[in-house]
Symmetry: C2
Subunit: 318 residues, 2 copies
């Protein structure tokens, strides 16, 4: 069994390969070429935290994946990252463990950011005036970094609860030469940005329908469990196209689930990201449409990124 | 993160400590002091296999566990064990991975055998004339080995499809000085044994009501997933006491689930093993009763054994 540490994983990864693998994964998912059971989860009260177990396989693939990811939101008080976790890759022919990717949650951050790239690449308007990032954590950082593969726009507005963290993000070496503005409130961001990504673990809506201009694309990645919500249900009613990573999963939790439960939109309005990739006419068809993509995180992403890293480690040895 | 290999785990383990930890785990489980979500599972067609993900925590404990166990039943054709897997222990305060126990499925075998010990210890008649083992694999081996802590009886009858494997088991050094008989059919076993353990991945019943004498205890450990069954539903009707490791889990799958679905017994007949440990009057109350214990495998066992091994590894370092 190959043990890969976070440092080894960082040395092995190729962003273009990850983006390609995630795109392929969404297409396979929506073609029902994968087996992905519902997410397992554990919740903790004291201190507050959660753990998600995502697992599955591609029917014609060599591996199955089990990913364990945690979020303990008091960790930063102790100087620890909120998120942690690891991915396990198994041989689909024998059940033998092949690799443990001890990524400390890093690959979950990357595969989520890669999904944000995929969503922006196929759904955002052609001309991005300004990118809006809601949140200031690792996910905000990597969404921005990966979005640079989808748009040439380097103007960013950040909104977050912690101004210091927003400043740190804006000053990071990954974004040297970019233009950053730190918004005092969310309206400053929504007024200027036509590509918005929300990346917080918020339990109440941060974006509301009256704030969203025509021609905006929103990708929401924070609400990956019941009880989390970033986008008010009415935003989905206002949107011309509502895209989800997984129809079944987004009906259970995530931002879309609130809109469905309140009957603000009907299930027929949902289109999967993999369906848009296979048939772009299901996505944005004009520069003035409002599109929104709700990403709850699907095990096919974990499988694809774990496979990409593991196979890179094997070919490196050869 | 502490990586423990199978060899290291073998050196660390203490059977008495494991038996004690498993007993404590069942008591805590039945007192609702643990959080154990439903088992996650993956099924594979070609080659046939399954993977179970069991996870959970004790509310007042330090850890949470995620255990991944596989069964690929064509593996022996390639000279590989059918079962494989590993256990992961996480810090319940931060979500940080603490230890990966790369046990190759060995700890799952042991914690199941330990549950067999617990069941026999509190449910079997006082005087065991002969132990009957159905099946000849690793689980048969460890059930016998662990039963030696519950009874002084060293007379065993084995029944299995593969006579050669039955002979190998009987000749194993762990059982030197024991008396073994290899049954030609199941009736030879049921006629003489009053403590019977079934350990096969059978998909159809092997034991039937007319074979079971008064004063017999049966522990069934093989049916750990839907589609598996070792004990005919009518055996549960004939039994005076029906014990389960988990009422909720045994209602979903395992031998008892068939008896419930056929209305052969009512849910009220089920008593949890942890309840019997806390209140022995819920178990066997005479030497002539028929008792049966259906063990589907609960994550609390995985948590308890992983914790025992990990803490042994830490105290060894000190």
């Amino acid at each position: 069994m190959k043990i890969l540490t976070r440092t080894e994983i960082e040395q092995l990864l190729s962003i273009p390969k990850i983006l390609e693998a995630i795109e392929e994964g969404f297409i396979a998912y929506s073609k029902h070429e994968v087996v992905i059971p519902p997410v397992g989860s554990l919740h903790f009260d004291s201190p507050p935290g959660d753990c998600h177990i995502k697992y599955g396989y591609a029917k014609n693939g060599k591996y199955y994946v089990v990913k364990v990811a945690s979020g303990f939101y008091d960790n930063p008080k102790q100087g620890l990252a909120s998120n942690n976790g690891l991915m396990l890759l198994f041989d689909k022919q024998t059940g033998a463990p092949i690799s443990a990717l001890l990524d400390e949650g890093y690959l979950t951050v990357l595969r989520t950011a890669a999904a944000g790239y995929v969503a922006a690449n196929c759904l955002a308007p052609k001309n991005i005036s300004c990118v809006g990032i809601v949140g200031t954590g690792a996910q905000a950082h990597y969404q921005l970094k990966f979005l640079s593969f989808a748009t040439k726009c380097r103007n960013v507005i950040i909104w977050g609860r912690d101004i210091e963290k927003a400043k740190q993000l804006a000053q990071h070496a990954d974004f040297s030469g970019w233009t950053f503005e730190i918004a005092q409130n969310i309206e400053q961001l929504t007024a200027k940005c036509n590509l918005i990504v929300t990346t917080t673990p918020s339990s109440h809506p941060l974006l509301f329908a009256d704030q969203i201009k025509p021609g905006t694309h929103i990708t929401a990645v924070g609400a990956d469990d019941s009880g989390k919500q970033e986008i008010d249900a009415q935003v989905f009613a206002k949107a011309d196209k509502v895209i989800v990573d997984s129809r079944s999963q987004c009906s259970l939790f995530g931002d879309v689930s609130y809109a469905l439960k309140k009957n603000v939109i009907q299930p027929e309005k949902l289109v999967e990201l993999g369906e848009v990739l296979s048939n772009p006419s299901l996505g944005r068809t004009s520069e003035t449409e409002i599109t929104i993509c709700d990403l709850t995180g699907v095990a096919i992403q974990d499988l694809q990124i774990a496979k990409t890293i593991y196979e890179a480690s094997v070919s490196k040895v050869k």
